[in-house]
């Protein structure tokens, strides 16, 4: 019986849609009358009559029905006691503001006693939801259709079946049609359909293979018997396997994302600490300076040239490099050059510098977080399979690799890079060859600091820009460099990605904090085993 009703309803809906499709631009008087009558009779109808009216309204397929049904479900549909006219009502200070449900014309304000709410029960609400799903399935806006299809998939209502089938026929967009088919599959599994249909539905859900599909299929596996149960069980296993695989992929992705952040934070340190052997505890503050440079650039752009906002990061990058690099050169000339060969003293002095820089920024910009906006190309996300990838994370990964490659090229193919390597390998010999070792020291330190500044631009997109920004990265950066092996950029890359991925794989078992603790303990133990890191330099260089 219900089956026939559903079909009838679907037929009506389809008919309504066709009718509406043909007549949408100029609704005939008849249709108008029809709507008005249906709406009119809703006043003072009992639940059974109301249910029929809802069905009839839905059957018109008119998009104007949608707000009326929504209002009904939310209890915002009233009728005037005097003439039984159905109206929208919004409460304004103990009075009700009325408007016509079809035309939207305002009908003045009345006292509370003059109107009466059209009551609905839960059964009716459910019916309205389904009907609405069916109606929005036919909306001209593809986004609304997709949303409606997803909603029906989630609610999995068997009564929506006819509407879905009608919509599938009409749908031209393949992506939406896929979701519609999946929604239909869920509905079929819940409806009283032959096993063959259900088996086909299981296949569709298997193809979808996410957590929602899993719960539906698992429910089928619990309730069904025989052949169908066997297939459902098999589907459950397959979906679970897929999900586990995707889970691993997701962990790797998150790990890469974290690793790229670590890489960015550590890459400058790989130059100052790794190549020069200078322990720069103010490294984190260089990152912070880069982030604040981004903030200042965006602030200026916002006030003076808002149309440039999408280019703000591109403008901030060179500036951050220059500002942080300049501060770096100043630190090298002012403090560090007096302390070469005394690493522990360097550590203390640069720590002092870091405190001063932090406090300076705190004095200028205040202690609270500053907001750095994301340009358009960095906001939003897309999906691959069951993995959501946000653009800002993706760009940071790409960017960190670009910085890495650029740095390697610089060290390998430029004169400056050659001189840097010469000075770090044999200072006296390099000096004898006419290289100004003092200048190279300052330039190298400036380069490392500038890279930290660039990292700050990227990190401003995913972290709070506050005076403490640098402190949260300093220990991690040192861990990466020490783990990867001092004086080796490849080591830094591998170290950063390994630590990032290890962290993300530990998180599900241990929680975020404990995962980090474990990683730290692991590094502490690792350094015992290989005191010079993963990719240790060999030969005499290490003894100096």
């Amino acid at each position: 019986m219900r089956f026939i009703q559903n079909n009838l309803f679907g037929f009506l809906l389809l008919w309504g849609f066709l009718f509406f499709g043909l007549q949408a631009t100029s609704p005939t008087l008849a249709a108008e009358d029809n709507l008005t009558t249906h709406i009119g009779t809703m006043a003072a109808a009992n639940f059974t009559a109301l249910s029929k009216q809802i069905e009839a309204l839905a059957a018109t397929g008119d998009p104007r029905v949608v707000p009326i049904l929504e209002a009904l479900a939310k209890g915002r549909l009233f009728f005037r006691k005097s003439d039984k006219k159905v109206v929208f009502a919004t409460k304004v200070k103990r009075r009700y503001k009325l408007s016509d449900p079809l035309s939207g014309d305002t009908l003045g304000e009345v006292k509370k006693s003059k109107v009466k709410k059209i009551r609905v029960n839960n059964k009716l609400r459910r019916q309205i939801r389904t009907v609405l799903g069916g109606l929005t399935l036919l909306s001209p806006d593809p986004k609304v259709r997709l949303k409606a299809a997803e909603a029906i998939f989630k609610s999995g209502d068997a009564t929506a079946l006819p509407a879905l089938e009608a919509a599938i026929v009409k749908e031209l967009d393949t992506a939406i049609r896929t979701v519609l088919r999946q929604a239909r599959a869920v509905a079929v599994l819940k409806a009283d359909r032959p096993d063959e249909d259900k088996k086909a539905a299981l296949t569709i859900l298997e193809a979808r293979g996410d957590r929602d599909a899993l719960s539906v299929v698992a429910a089928v596996a619990r309730t069904s018997t025989g052949d169908l149960k066997a297939i459902a069980d098999r589907t459950v296993t397959t979906i679970q396997e897929t999900l586990e695989l995707w889970n691993i992929v997701q962990n790797i992705w998150y790990g890469l994302s974290l690793g790229s952040v670590l890489l960015l934070a550590a890459i400058g340190l790989a130059i100052t600490f790794g190549v020069m052997g200078v322990i720069n505890m103010a490294h984190g503050e260089m990152v912070m300076i880069g982030a604040y440079t981004t903030f200042v650039v965006q602030d200026i752009i916002r006030t003076s040239a808002p149309e440039l906002f999408d280019y703000s990061l591109a403008i901030a990058l060179p500036l951050a490099f220059l500002v942080a690099g300049g501060v770096g050169v100043a630190i090298e000339r002012g403090v560090i050059r007096f302390l070469y060969g005394r690493p522990l003293e360097t550590l203390l002095a640069t720590w002092g510098v870091s405190l001063v820089l932090q406090q300076t920024v705190r004095t200028i910009f205040g202690p609270t977080n500053r907001e750095v906006g994301a340009p358009n190309f960095m906001s939003g996300a897309f999906e691959i399979g069951h993995l959501t990838i946000t653009y800002n994370r993706l760009w940071i990964i790409v960017f960190s690799l670009m910085v890495m490659v650029a740095l390697m090229m610089l060290l390998k193919y430029t004169a400056l890079g050659l001189q840097m390597r010469a000075v770090t390998q044999n200072r006296k010999m390099a000096g004898a060859m006419g290289i100004r070792t003092n200048w190279i020291d300052a330039a190298t330190f400036g380069l490392g600091s500038g890279l930290a500044g660039i990292a700050g631009v990227a990190l401003s997109q995913i972290d709070n820009v506050s005076p403490n920004l640098g402190q949260s990265y300093i220990i991690d950066s040192f861990m990466v460099v020490v783990f990867g092996g001092v004086g080796n950029l490849w080591g830094t890359l591998v170290g950063a990605l390994t630590l990032g991925i290890a962290n993300k794989f530990l998180e599900p078992f241990a929680g975020a904090v404990l995962a980090k603790v474990f990683v730290l303990i692991f590094i502490i133990l690792f350094i015992q085993k290989r005191p010079r890191g993963l990719f240790a330099l060999k030969g005499r260089a290490i003894e100096s």
Binding site: G352, Q359, V513, I523, I524, P531
Partner: protein, 384 residues
């Protein structure tokens, strides 16, 4: 040994240090207890507590100087041992609250009742006894340091690498203690202490008692450190500091020497933490923060690395400056502290004691030259 210590260990500088320490301690104690409150001579209990706190920091600085100044091991994680000692004492004080907590549970501390814990975790057992807590104050940091040092020194992790992993150690501990599940009160740590050994923590008498205990602990710590560094063992330590490989080639097991002094130093830091907690009335995971550990190093660097007296002096001076600055101009404190790091490493490699020694030497040399020149003048006159 004690005789030898008294004969060799205590030089003039040490006598001055110990006399000043006890003179100030007793002076402050008497001025707090004897005059009636309100009279001009009376010192508030705030001064007593603050001085007591400085002395515990001085003891912590002393322990860092022992490993850094005499053995070349720059620890950026001594706050970990300090805080662990503090937690051990804090746990005892929590147990001593008994049923007087907010929730009135006879055994469980308030935060456990709040988290719906049913019974005391195993690692809280025994802390109701003071002797046990006191033992743990020394043992927990000591054992941690021993295990850590065993691995680190055996695989010859030295210099900056060691500094960085000690920093990682304290960072890891901080993260771990921030978790509620650890059973150490999470974020809030341990607080609301009522009394210690039956004495009310708020009373003046107890505060003075804690101050004197801190002074005694500092003095004992100083004497032990002094005994260690002036002994033959200490000579080897200094040799390791200056040329580790060479010392090893001479047949000394450098790692064992380091391990022993490292463990001793950690226990000293633990005692300092245990005395710190009842005086400030709270212990929480932020004490583990790496910044605290590095700050301790500046006490030593400012006072004078490898002088012991200087470390203690630096601890008191820097914290005195901190009290003044954070009270009067809080925004300049980090500028001052940061500047202190830079200035003391650049211009005072031997710290205040070094500068003082330099001035004193110069003065002595001047006087000697003056004396000799007057002598010459006199002889010239005679010969004339």
């Amino acid at each position: 040994m004690i005789l030898r210590l008294l004969k060799n260990g205590i030089d003039r500088k040490s006598w001055i240090f110990l006399s000043v320490l006890f003179a100030v301690t007793f002076g402050v104690s008497i001025l707090n207890l004897a005059p009636t409150p309100g009279s001009t001579l009376h010192l508030s209990s705030f001064v007593v507590t603050v001085l007591g706190k400085y002395l515990t920091y001085a003891l912590l600085a002393l322990s860092v100087d022992l490993v850094w100044g005499y053995c070349g091991v720059l620890s950026l994680g001594h706050a970990a041992f300090f805080t662990l000692g503090g937690y051990a004492m804090g746990m005892h004080l929590m147990r001593e609250i008994g049923p007087r907590g907010v929730y009135g549970h006879p055994i469980l501390p308030d935060f456990m009742v709040f988290l719906n814990w049913q019974e005391l975790p195993w690692f809280w057992l025994g802390f109701d006894m003071f002797w046990f807590a006191a033992l743990m104050v020394i043992l927990v940091p000591g054992v941690l340091a021993f295990v850590f040092g065993w691995f680190a020194f055996r695989s010859r992790v030295t210099g900056v690498y060691l500094s960085i992993i000690t920093q990682a150690l304290t960072f890891a501990l901080m993260l771990a203690f921030f978790r509620n599940d650890m059973g150490f009160g999470g974020n809030n740590g341990l607080t609301d202490f009522k009394d210690i050994l039956g004495f009310n923590l708020q009373s003046d008498g107890t505060r003075v008692g804690l101050l004197i205990a801190s002074a005694v602990a500092l003095a004992i710590g100083f004497l032990i450190a002094r005994a260690v560094v002036t002994s033959k063992f200490g000579k080897v330590l200094i040799a390791i500091r200056d040329a580790e490989s060479r010392t090893r080639f001479l047949g000394y097991r450098a790692e064992n020497y380091k391990l022993l002094v490292w463990t001793l130093s950690a226990s000293m830091a633990g005692v300092a933490g245990a005395l710190y907690v009842p005086q400030v009335g709270i212990i929480n995971p932020s004490e583990f923060s790496p910044a605290n550990s590095i700050e301790v190093v500046i006490y030593v660097a400012l006072g004078g690395r490898g002088t012991l007296v200087g470390a203690a002096l630096g601890g008191v001076l820097v914290n005195f400056a901190k009290t003044i600055f954070t009270g009067a101009f809080p925004e300049y404190w980090l500028f001052f502290l940061g500047g202190l790091f830079v200035v003391s490493t650049l211009f005072m490699p031997k710290g205040i004691i070094g500068v003082w020694g330099h001035i004193a030497n110069k003065w002595r040399a001047d006087r000697a030259r003056n004396a000799s020149s007057t002598l010459q003048a006199n002889t010239l006159k005679k010969g004339d």
